[in-house]
Symmetry: C2
Subunit: 432 residues, 2 copies
């Protein structure tokens, strides 16, 4: 008996993180980490698929409405049908002949598609009894490539080249998977350096992070230069010379300003500067990259589709590719960008934090390690300590590394009690 998707339920889930300035940065001073959350019901008792689009509070309802608008495209589809045409359901979700105008392939409508796309992949992996990264790693190179939309990226990544990359990496896959299962994956933590935290809090958190085995910490910059220099000095002293210190400006600078500001921070030896300027400014990032080298330039959490990432790579505008699993149109488009990054020999360090992003992108990075990238050099998963207690299968970290996800699926299922408590506006967390 074939299994079909029978209904899509949506929820508006918001955590009041702004009350403690968790997640605060120069552009986003008061985020309430939130999720437009989708549950795919199926004809199989007990089998559901879970996906979410990460948001910052207000406006989460808009993404929920958009998921509701796209959901009919999934209802009635069989999982076998989807698995036999992994491209078709994706193109159907992002290519609606009338709703496409609302993006195209960007913003709310694309985030809504991502939540649904990821819920479908969650469902496929659960049915197979595999964590998503293992489900992907078990697919043949031809199957992986069949899930990718090459429209508008074929000049940089023809289908044949994508296949070639995967085939080149096929030997040794079993051994790499075994090592990933045993040793986990390199990571860095963002939890010490939020802009709204005072120096004492940063100092205590950084000391704790080092004691916990973290070898790399990211701090937010771009509010005030003197503050940044002082705070970076505090962190560098605790980190010592060998651990990495990343910086993140969250888009607040003009181009020359970014170059000057990072020049002033050069003394603390930043590993990278993230989102120095507008996330749409490919040519601007290229100028910043030339101006701040050898400090690396990283970006991607606001990079909305494969066409933008293609250009960041073609223009030699970034050193580090920061895929976001639900800003891009879900797994299908993430696969395209992993292969683009491999083709241009740039490391992918996925964007995480927020709520559910760590759970999501661990699968992306583990799959990248198993099947795509040519080396592990410079590859780290972002980590933030918040909100993992709300997940059925939360991330596990040890000594500054992510441990390999073990449970079937894509790991973003929230606990029923969390869904109830943080539902907006009716949940207990918002009624008080």
């Amino acid at each position: 008996m074939t299994i079909a998707i029978t209904a899509v339920r949506t929820l508006d889930i918001r955590y009041p993180t702004s009350r403690f300035l968790d997640g605060s940065d120069a552009m986003n001073p008061d985020p309430d980490y939130s999720a437009a959350y989708a549950i795919l019901e199926t004809s199989e008792p007990g089998l559901t698929g879970h996906g979410l689009a990460f948001t910052l509070g207000r406006g989460t309802d808009l993404v929920v409405h958009a998921i509701d608008a796209l959901a009919p495209k999934l209802v009635g589809r069989s999982l076998d049908g989807i698995e036999n045409d992994l491209f078709g359901f994706w193109r159907d979700l992002v290519g609606d002949t009338q709703m496409r105008w609302l993006g195209p392939e960007k913003g709310i409508i694309h985030m809504a598609a991502a939540a649904l796309v990821n819920a479908v992949w969650d469902l496929l992996a659960r049915r197979a009894g595999l964590p998503l990264w293992r489900y992907l790693a078990a697919m043949s190179p031809e199957q992986i490539v069949s899930a990718i939309d090459f429209r508008h990226i074929s000049d940089a990544l023809p289908r044949e080249r994508a296949l070639e990359i995967l085939l080149e990496r096929a030997p040794g896959r079993a051994g790499r998977i075994a090592r990933l299962e045993q040793d986990g994956h390199a990571a860095y933590t963002t939890s010490a350096g939020w802009l709204g935290y005072d120096d004492d809090k940063i100092r205590a958190l950084a000391r704790g992070a080092v004691a916990d085995g973290w070898g790399a910490i990211k701090m937010k910059v771009g509010g005030n230069l003197a503050d940044d220099i002082r705070r970076a000095g505090v962190l560098r002293e605790i980190l010592g010379p060998d651990r990495l210190l990343m910086t993140d400006a969250n888009q607040v600078w003009e181009i020359d300003q970014a170059i000057d500001w990072m020049g002033a921070l050069r003394g603390v030896d930043p590993w990278w500067i993230e989102e120095p300027v507008s996330p749409d400014d490919i040519l601007g990032h290229a100028r910043v990259k030339r101006g701040v080298a050898p400090i690396r330039v990283a970006t991607g959490e606001h990079c909305h589709n494969r066409v933008m990432f293609k250009q960041f790579l073609q223009a030699d505008a970034i050193d580090v590719v920061q895929i976001d699993a639900c800003r891009l149109g879900g797994v299908n488009e993430v696969l395209a960008v992993l292969l683009l990054a491999a083709a241009f020999e740039r490391p992918v360090c996925p964007h995480a934090g927020g709520v559910g992003l760590c759970e999501y992108v661990q699968h992306v990075a583990f799959f990248d390690a198993a099947c795509v990238r040519p080396s592990d050099e410079g590859r780290m998963i972002e980590h933030a300590a918040h909100l993992h207690e709300h997940f059925v299968d939360p991330i596990r970290v040890s000594q500054g590394r992510y441990l390999a996800p073990q449970q079937p699926g894509f790991s973003v299922e929230m606990k029923p009690e969390s869904l109830a408590e943080y539902a907006f506006p009716g949940g207990a967390a918002w009624r008080t």
Copy 2:
């Protein structure tokens, strides 16, 4: 007594244009021209402001929801307060610290902001008793510049340069306005060449257009090369050698394909190729431009903000800047792009058609002619014949030219009976 905005009403208005394939092209085969429509109520009896975001049918409700979410930022503001800080209300609408994540400055949330921004400008112009283009032309260069957000474009257009361009053009303004009032503005028509029309319909419409005095016609291409060559031949024969024939592929090609396809159409002497590839693909457009010259490359109807237009210009990727008045964040951002185009000496030929776009962009082009651009060469407003009967102050064309708008405001107010009939899903047009 100061006038204040007291409430915002929103409507979902859809015209069933897909029933006749009006507006059909290679990417958008079945649009129902629609509008997320906003009405600003004020404390002054009889004074309301009207703005809309153009959409293609399904999903219009999503933009309406987004307008509702942003609307509280306007309620309670005085028109004097807005007029004294023309930047502040714009930044407030596009920079909400939580909703910004849903773009940023792109897609549904930006289109919603545009509808509101334009409704505000409509209100200001109505209060002043002037058509919007005359209201803008009456502002000082300093006032115009004060409305612009230079964030993330200052590398290409510093504030001082923007002011300089406007000051350079100040002499002779009164004379240019008088000529615009008398002679109108050059234009081209898209109404003959929709992809869903058969050859006989195209032939009849093109003959009618030439008889009506049109000197330039645009056709849709990209479905099938043999069809395109045949249809272009039909049009070129009717147009003769001196009238212009534009082509529009609506994003369907890969880069090499665009170059090859336009090579095959070279014999019909196309004036420009519009949207040959992905609207996000700045570097791709640059390659197409080099590959199809002397055929020009035009794009912009999906260009979502000033940062993208900046790069299209910096990369020498386009010959023609096709501003969309409600894809960009309304008048404030349109002003930024007009000045960017002037700085890079590229003509602006605004995107129109749809519903309300002709009404909107005539004001943009007339203001550009009066106060910004250095010459009229190659500057044309797009025209499509549909749906103007639904507007209180519709465009007026004569001998292939737009006549200068005369009534106060921004011209997108729809008639009450049209708002009632085409309201979705309750209006009479949708109940049958």
